[in-house]
């Protein structure tokens, strides 16, 4: 796997050698604007993208009941997802120093 990944990264490194001119500024374009830019490729009068989705009204809409989602959970209880403890109860690690006995100050 490491060898394959190395080969792929070496291949991708060709991007460093390309002259991208003005577009070379980091962050010049992010794929998230793909739709708007795609619209810009369409000949026609400038203006808002002809197909831009309108902003949705900011009101809650009904969604599927909790049970239908929890039905797919590997474990659930009382309407919540159930997972093992973040830190399971375990015996103290072998290298831990035993608690001091007696002694004291």
């Amino acid at each position: 796997m490491a060898g394959q990944l190395g080969k792929i990264v070496d291949y991708i490194d060709q991007l460093q050698r390309l002259d991208v001119g003005a577009a070379g500024a980091v962050g010049a374009e992010k794929p998230s604007v793909a739709v708007a830019a795609a619209a810009a490729a369409t000949p026609g009068p400038p203006g808002p993208a002809p197909h831009a989705a309108p902003e949705a009204d900011d009101v809650p809409r009904p969604c599927l009941p909790r049970e239908s989602f929890l039905a797919n959970a590997p474990a659930a209880q009382d309407g919540f997802l159930l997972v093992p403890e973040v830190r399971p109860a375990a015996p103290p690690p072998a290298h831990a120093a035993p608690a001091p006995k007696g002694g004291g100050q």
Binding site: G27, S32, A40, H51, A53, N72, A73
Partner: protein
């Protein structure tokens, strides 16, 4: 005259016409498809699951709807009335299993139906099953399925392509007339090419992604696979259009994609990319395709996309980056498989993902995580975005000169099973011609262009301007008629032919 047992041979359009006209029943159409499937499926293994009984119930429902009953006039179920279709296993159908061909989604049942799938149902389609794919749509050969490989109906020793290899093989083998898959970097077009069928990647935003399991959200699109261009246009028509559940789905009107499909391409300007470097039979086939387009009346114009050679590098940075984020949700907590050995929450995450994902998915998650990591982000992700901006500019310029732009769909015909399995980079390079349209969001159709000397299909890709699917289909239809293509795979290498 097509007999009841031969209904599987009909196009979706013709089958729906006969069912709507009550010349044949939806039940008869389904039984013909299931009988054909029983014959070819052992040879190609295109399905992960057949929904035989639910499909029969659904076909009876369509017939009942058409007949009305109690003296009432029947209702029209829609343009895909009674047409059997198959879904790639990353499209949600409520109440049915969905695995993305991954172990990590074993046992998952879709709680809701994808918008595109609901539109198929609303148009009268009968869904016959879940088709195989590369795990999480990552692959170009369908060999990355966690369940089994699928074989190419033209030669069962070769791959069907991927990631939508299951739907492409099923459609090519005659199991169903229409399949639906997803295309992120070529995952509909490349398997369609290798299986000798038509595959459509619509404009980004043309089809809702609601209910499609996300791989790379900025390029994922759902599209049809069919045996002919008219059916491909019909399938696109049914699933396209705005959707309140996907804010990236465009309001742009769909129009009638079949209205002008037979109008021909006299005077259409077809852009030919100068930078394409082809060898051998692919080169000869591409030259022949260009000649066919000219015979149909098109004017060939040279266009330039100098960044074409970097498309694979850009794509594998951007798509893996998005995948590394999108696949974080598979954690063994909310759905899917949890490692039985995990004793702590950290082990649930680590073990479930280690055991649940296959090698290619892990490879891409690691690549994407690397490309987005502090210290490397600008060098990889930032750089890929800059090259993408340049590519978009080049394609925009090309579409000022041309109405459509053509390339081969793939650099070669189907390769042997296992041939590229140990060399992921060689596998990635299968996508050289399909990734630009994905990255830039353009519509593109793969149309069969002939056979190579081994008898395996080759394909032409036709790209269009955003939301100009109708123009792309018109060109594809004219080209299809010039080629005179017949989907008749020979099942070479199978012990018993399925003819």
């Amino acid at each position: 005259m097509t007999g009841p047992g031969d209904l599987w041979e009909l196009s979706a359009e013709e089958l729906a016409r006969r069912i709507r006209g009550r010349e044949v029943s939806a039940v008869a159409a389904l039984e013909s498809a299931l009988a054909r499937t029983a014959r070819v499926e052992p040879l190609i293994r295109a399905y992960l699951e057949l929904f035989e009984e639910p499909a029969r119930a659904r076909a009876r429902e369509i017939d009942a709807q058409l007949s009305g009953g109690r003296g009432m006039a029947g209702a029209d179920p829609g343009p895909l009335a009674g047409v059997p279709v198959v879904l790639k296993d990353n499209l949600s159908l409520a109440g049915h299993r969905l695995t993305c061909a991954s172990r990590i989604l074993e046992g998952y049942v879709a709680p809701y139906t994808a918008t595109a799938v609901q539109r198929l149902l609303d148009a009268g389609a009968v869904i016959v099953g879940r088709a195989n794919m590369d795990e999480f749509a990552m692959g170009s050969s369908c060999e990355n399925s966690a369940y089994h490989e699928t074989r190419n109906p033209w030669d069962v020793g070769t791959v069907p392509g991927g990631s939508s290899g299951g739907p492409a093989a099923a459609v090519a083998a005659g199991s169903v007339a229409l399949g639906f898959g997803s295309d992120t970097g070529g995952s509909i077009r490349q398997p369609a090419a290798l299986c000798g069928v038509v595959g459509v990647k619509p404009t980004y935003g043309r089809v809702s992604r609601y209910g499609l399991v996300a791989f790379a959200s900025s390029t994922d699109q759902i599209g049809p696979i069919a045996r002919g261009v008219r059916d491909a246009a019909l399938g696109t028509q049914v699933i396209a259009g705005p959707d309140a559940n996907d804010s990236t789905c465009a309001e742009h009107p769909v129009g009638d994609l079949l209205a002008a499909i037979e109008d021909g391409i006299a005077g259409m300007r077809v852009g030919v990319v100068r930078e394409i470097d082809l060898e051998g039979e692919t080169a000869a086939s591409f030259e022949a395709a260009l000649a066919a387009l000219e015979r149909a009346g098109a004017e060939l114009v040279p266009v330039s996309i100098p960044s074409l050679g970097a498309a694979i590098a850009v794509y594998y940075v951007i798509a893996t980056s998005e995948a590394s984020a999108n696949l974080a949700r598979f954690d063994g907590v909310r759905y899917g498989r949890r490692s039985p050995a995990a004793a702590s929450l950290a082990e649930v995450y680590f073990d479930s993902r280690s055991e649940g994902f296959g090698a290619e998915v892990k490879r891409r998650i690691m690549l994407g995580t690397f490309a987005l990591s502090s210290g490397y982000y600008e060098a990889y992700y930032g750089r890929a975005c800059a090259v993408l901006a340049q590519m978009r500019g080049e394609l925009t310029a090309a579409f000022r000169l041309a109405d459509v732009v053509v390339t081969p769909t793939t650099p070669s015909a189907a390769f042997r099973l296992g041939e590229k399995l140990d060399d992921p980079l060689a596998m990635y390079l299968s996508d050289i011609f399909t990734t630009p349209a994905s990255l830039v969001g353009l519509p593109a159709v793969a149309v069969p262009s002939g056979l190579d000397s081994r008898g395996l299909p080759l394909s032409l890709q036709i790209m269009g301007r955003p939301f100009e699917e109708a123009t792309v289909f018109r060109a594809a239809r004219a080209f299809e008629q010039q080629v005179g293509w017949n989907v008749a795979p020979s099942f070479r290498g199978a012990e018993a032919g399925a003819g």
